[in-house]
């Protein structure tokens, strides 16, 4: 019955209005107001979004109307706004879930319709459904709790999301695995996402994003084994292949191309590179695994537990060469052997023999064995084609720089999951390192010295470390000099500055809701300095404060990993900034020394009263630091531009990276700090984003909020500075620091004229006001293209221009030393 009616409506001959007939009739019966709303928006959705969406919308409203006419009206009015926020590909899921809930618990529909757009892209449909079911159940008890659950704000929501993802996600363990890999090979490797594959490019270890093979702790064991093997290639020298120590073929080894690794050069020497590469991979894996088993009994255990499953079901190919490689693979992986005929057995003999003693070989010996054994297997392939040149010779080529995109046909069915040696995946930076290492070795050879591949690589890494440190030191010196020119501010406390009131709601300004913020918080009114009338305009600007949403940790994790040396050094620098002054504490019962004045007084008192006072010691206490720091980030769209230093790094990323480095260091030494951002559009809408308040812990969630910082619209610096100042003044501390990180171009072309001189003068006035109220502002401009007015704008309070993230921490430490002590 139902199927028949569906066919009827899907028929192309039916006029469009007929599809609307059923919901229209239902709505008309239930609630005429809902019907009117539906009629108003239906066409808008069809024209603005799509026919399918309009149809789903009608179905949903009609369905709700059968249960509750009033609710149907609400749904009819609000859905059009929400649907616009749902990504195109997920709109089907959105309506499906809403319809399901409309059937089971319509009263939760309003909350769900509002929160689902932000959720819908974070999970697959099945998980999302289960999550929504939990949220709807909570709704029966409390709709506030359901809302915070569905916004993923509550702890219950975090736990639920975790529980929904069975298996292990790389994002959750990548840091542990990175450290694990480093412990094994003693190099600065990183574990990175490998788009579903596990491999190593000789510098880093790439792993699949998700492992769900067993559904228990063995999933982590899979990651562990893959990491151990990936790091094992580095630990046991796979990438230290040295062709000078491998007997060359008749034609000699091919000349090294620029940026080419030794392994790539080696594979290039073979007619059938895929074949050579597979055989090399098998033997090298056997070697690395044997070494791992010998070195780490625990890995031997894990390999036994998960190893065979990793390889998956194996085929039994008939073609002689493929059968030979498969037989070799099964032997290497310790699986059920594949029977082979005499011819294949003969061809495989030298390789099999090497396989059995793989643990005792080194990579150069493996390369030699593979060169020798390759001919036998290639012979099988050639004979199978009746002496005709094999088709694969031309097409089966390894992907090399310069000939990307050619088909790559492997003679071996790939294992379901297994680490691979993939020198071709190395990035440009890594390739430069290869070249540099090769150059070092050539130089050494010219001097008549021996330098192994491993030593050369280590030297290159060492050089990089030194260069980085040197750069940082230079930055410190430059900053020191720059600061000498700017004295710390002083001045009396006058003029409280900020007024505060309730402003009209954001909706009235027509600004769409920002997906990066949790909820719009309070609004504040501030005055603004108008240079043309030389006076303040009172109650002129509305600052709307909202909290950034938690998001992805990957940005922060990556920065923390990459910049960990900088973070560590900065932390030490901060720690070293201990005040050298001392305060003398008197009148103690125990202390460093006797306080002579008190002893004399005491002696006199004692003689008179017979009671000798014992509070006669004094002690010098070192002074402590008592400081609160706020960071105020410019999030205007101009920060989306690349920094003038070149490269693709955007100003906003440099700001964020520097901020993370500093926040980690400040967190380590325990000083109070807060992180804000600002943007906006027009004087009615200066958006003030809170990533971390003073009272918030610097935890993963705070880090995620910083990760959410992104460029928005305009920047009205003056109002943001006034608001940050106000917040800073509420913080009990002896010293208050405000760092403004911007691109130095205050600009807000909303509905009035906040640019050029007007904007600069207001910014300057806001900074001056802040200083008068006892806040030390300091402006850091990320872009050195900043024009000459910077000095006029920031000159009174001290500023600097930087172009590299490395310089910023140095700057901040120095400001700290001058101001915070």
């Amino acid at each position: 019955m139902r199927a028949a009616s569906t066919r009827f409506f899907d028929d192309a001959t039916v006029p469009p209005w007929a599809k609307d007939l059923a919901p229209m009739v239902r709505l008309a019966r239930a609630d005429t107001a809902a019907l009117r709303a539906w009629m108003r928006y239906r066409a808008a959705i069809r024209d603005g979004i799509g026919e399918a969406e309009a149809e789903s919308y009608g179905r949903l409203v009609a369905r709700v109307a059968m249960r509750d006419g009033e609710l149907a009206r609400v749904v009819a009015v609000t859905i059009p706004d929400h649907i616009a926020r749902v990504p195109m590909s997920r709109r089907g899921v959105y309506f499906r879930l809403l319809e399901e809930v409309a059937g089971s618990r319509p009263e939760a529909l309003a909350v769900l319709a509002r929160t689902l757009p932000d959720l819908v892209d974070t999970m697959d449909e099945d998980r999302l459904r289960r999550f929504v079911v939990q949220g709807v159940e909570i709704h029966a008890e409390s709709h506030q709790r359901a809302e915070s659950f569905l916004k993923k704000e509550s702890d219950a929501a975090h736990a639920a999301v975790k529980a929904l993802h069975a298996g292990v996600r790389l994002a959750d363990v990548s840091r542990t695995l990175t450290l694990y890999a480093r412990a094994h090979c003693g190099e600065d490797v990183q574990v990175r996402a490998g788009k579903g594959k596990a491999f190593s490019d000789g510098h880093h270890v790439y792993l699949p994003e998700h492992v769900e093979k067993f559904g228990d702790e063995r999933d982590f064991a899979v990651y562990r084994v893959l990491t151990a093997v990936g790091a094992g290639y580095l630990e046991f020298g796979t990438f230290d292949l040295d062709l000078a120590r491998v007997p060359a073929p008749a034609a000699g080894w091919p000349d090294a191309a620029e940026g080419e690794s030794e392994l790539e050069r080696y594979f290039r020497a073979f007619g059938n590179r895929s074949l050579a590469r597979e055989i090399f991979q098998l033997l090298e894996d056997a070697r690395v695994e044997a070494r791992l088993r010998e070195e780490y009994p625990g890995i031997a255990r894990d390999l036994g537990a998960v190893g065979p499953t990793l390889r998956g079901q194996r085929p039994a190919p008939e073609a002689p060469a493929a059968r030979a490689v498969e037989a070799l693979a099964r032997e290497a992986w310790g699986l059920e052997p594949l029977p082979v005929n005499e011819e294949i057995a003969l061809a495989l003999a030298p390789l099999r023999e090497a396989l059995r003693r793989a643990g005792a070989l080194d990579v150069n010996e493996v390369a030699r064995v593979v060169s020798e054994g390759y001919a036998g297997v290639e012979g099988l392939m050639l004979r199978a084609k009746d002496g005709k040149p094999p088709r694969s010779q031309g097409s089966e080529r390894l992907r090399m720089p310069g000939d990307r995109g050619e088909p790559q046909e492997s003679p071996l069915a790939p294992p379901e999951l297994g680490a691979r040696i993939a020198p071709e995946e190395a990035g440009a930076e890594e390739r430069q390192r290869e070249d540099e290492a090769r150059r070092l070795r050539e130089e050494a050879a010219n001097r008549g010295e021996q330098l192994s591949a491993a030593e050369a690589r280590e030297r290159v890494r060492e050089q990089e470390r030194r260069r980085r440190e040197l750069m940082e030191q230079t930055a410190y010196a430059q900053m020191e000099a720059m600061l000498d020119r700017h004295r710390p501010p002083g001045g009396a406390l006058v003029d409280p500055g900020a007024e505060r009131d309730d402003a009209p709601p954001a909706a009235a300004t027509g600004i769409p809701q920002d997906p990066d913020v949790v909820a719009t918080g309070r609004n504040f009114l501030y005055r603004e300095w108008d240079a043309t009338i030389n006076d303040h305009k009172p109650r002129w600007v509305v600052v709307r404060e909202s909290r950034l949403r938690e998001g992805d940790r990957s940005f922060v994790d990556e920065v923390m990993e990459r910049e960990r040396h900088a973070i560590e050094r900065l932390r030490r620098r901060f720690e070293a900034l201990r005040p050298e002054g001392r305060t003398m504490i008197r009148g103690l019962t125990d202390g460093d020394e006797l306080d002579i004045d008190r002893v004399i007084d005491g002696a006199v008192t004692g003689r008179i009263t017979g009671d000798f006072p014992d509070r006669v010691y004094r002690r010098a206490l070192p002074e402590r630091r008592d400081v609160a720091v706020s960071f105020l980030l410019d999030m205007s769209s101009s920060t989306n531009e690349a920094t003038a230093a070149g490269g693709q790094r955007r100003v906003i990323d440099v700001e964020k990276e520097a901020l993370i480095v500093i926040a980690e260091a400040l967190h380590a030494i325990g000083d109070a700090f807060s992180i804000y951002g600002f943007s906006g559009y027009g004087r009615d809408h200066v958006a003030f984003y809170v990533a971390k308040e003073f009272r918030d812990a610097w935890d993963d969630r705070a880090r995620e909020r910083v990760g959410r910082i992104s460029f928005k619209m305009e920047n009205r610096d003056g109002a943001a500075i006034r608001h940050a100042t106000r917040k800073l003044l509420a913080e009990p501390a002896r010293t208050r620091l405000l760092f403004l990180l911007s691109d130095g171009k205050p600009l807000d072309c909303g509905c009035d004229h906040y640019y050029d001189r007007y904007a600069q003068e207001d910014t300057k006035a806001a900074l001056r006001e802040a200083r008068r109220e006892g806040v030390h502002p300091f402006c850091i401009t990320v872009d050195p293209t900043g024009p000459g007015y910077l000095k006029r704008m920031y000159g009174e309070v001290g500023y600097c221009v930087i172009d590299r993230v490395e310089m910023l921490p140095a700057q901040i430490v120095n400001v700290y030393r001058r101001l915070a002590l």
């Binding site: 542990t176 694990y180 960990r564 560590e568 460093d592 006669v616």
Partner: protein, 270 residues
């Protein structure tokens, strides 16, 4: 006015502390003592610096006075101070004064932790004058031939800014301490914790791997002392993974990811 000096017996080492030499450190120390030169020991935490000094004190038959330095350490903490007893004022010698009076070996542990203005009181003792002026007593003590000054510091985690002043540093002969090579370290762990060679060897390997994380996540690698602690737990029959968690994971870090990494390294061996 009375003066109190703690008794020499308090500082005498009666039983020989075990020490396994790694390089020429014993020879250097002995000859420095004979030549009346002060010595600076550099090295990470728990690699045997303190043990070495007490071993040498016993070997040379001298009492040993140890001062653990910290940032609140003041000159009077080292030299001594007046105390009041009833209505009488008594001078009590500080550890440095005590050591000079007894001709002891004085050991300032983690010397950079002390503030620079405190450290200058050791300067006259560490050049050829070998004297200790105490202005509150209005005296100058002359150090006897047996007196020796030894200081230690850990260059690993102190910052560039917290290094010893060159004027302090250049008064010492320096001996570098590192974690001992694997064979010797195994021997030490075995001997100190009464553990079998096989398990002691595994502990040393775990130590090696964890030390690979120094500056790559960990501030400082695992010390020989911690390996010995863990060995002692193992020797008493504690389950290896929980022993290692107590000795390594929880001690070395509060970072959960890093802690898990250390657990995984332990699982590589036990």
């Amino acid at each position: 006015m009375r003066q109190l000096t703690p008794s020499v017996e308090d500082y005498t080492i009666h039983r020989e502390p075990f020490y396994r030499a790694v390089a020429d450190e014993i020879d250097i120390f002995e000859n420095a003592w004979k030549a009346r030169l002060p010595v600076l020991l550099k090295g990470p935490t728990g690699c045997g610096k303190t043990r070495f000094v007490s071993h040498m004190a016993h070997r040379l038959g001298r009492p040993m006075v140890t001062v653990a330095c910290h940032e609140d350490l003041s000159a009077s903490d080292l030299l001594g101070r007046y105390l009041l007893t009833g209505d009488e004022t008594v001078w009590v010698d500080g550890p440095l004064t005590t050591a000079v009076r007894h001709g002891a070996i004085v050991y300032l542990d983690e010397v950079v932790e002390a503030r620079k203005d405190t450290l200058v009181v050791i300067h006259p003792l560490t050049d050829d004058r070998r004297i200790l002026p105490i202005d509150r007593l209005a005296t100058v003590l002359e150090a006897p031939a047996e007196f020796m000054m030894v200081v230690s510091y850990n260059p690993g985690y102190q910052s560039v800014l917290k290094e010893l002043k060159p004027s302090t540093r250049q008064r010492f002969l320096s001996v570098d301490f590192r974690y001992p090579p694997p064979d010797i370290e195994r021997e030490i762990v075995q001997r100190e914790s009464c553990l079998d060679a096989e398990r002691a060897g595994r502990l040393v390997k775990i130590g090696e791997k964890i030390r690979n994380l120094t500056d790559r996540g960990l501030e400082e690698g695992v010390s020989t002392r911690l390996l010995v602690y863990c060995g002692k737990l193992l020797a008493q029959g504690v389950e290896p993974r929980s022993a290692c968690r107590a000795a390594f994971t929880r001690t070395l870090t509060d970072d959960r990811d890093l802690g898990r990494t250390i657990d995984e390294i332990v699982a590589d061996y036990f």
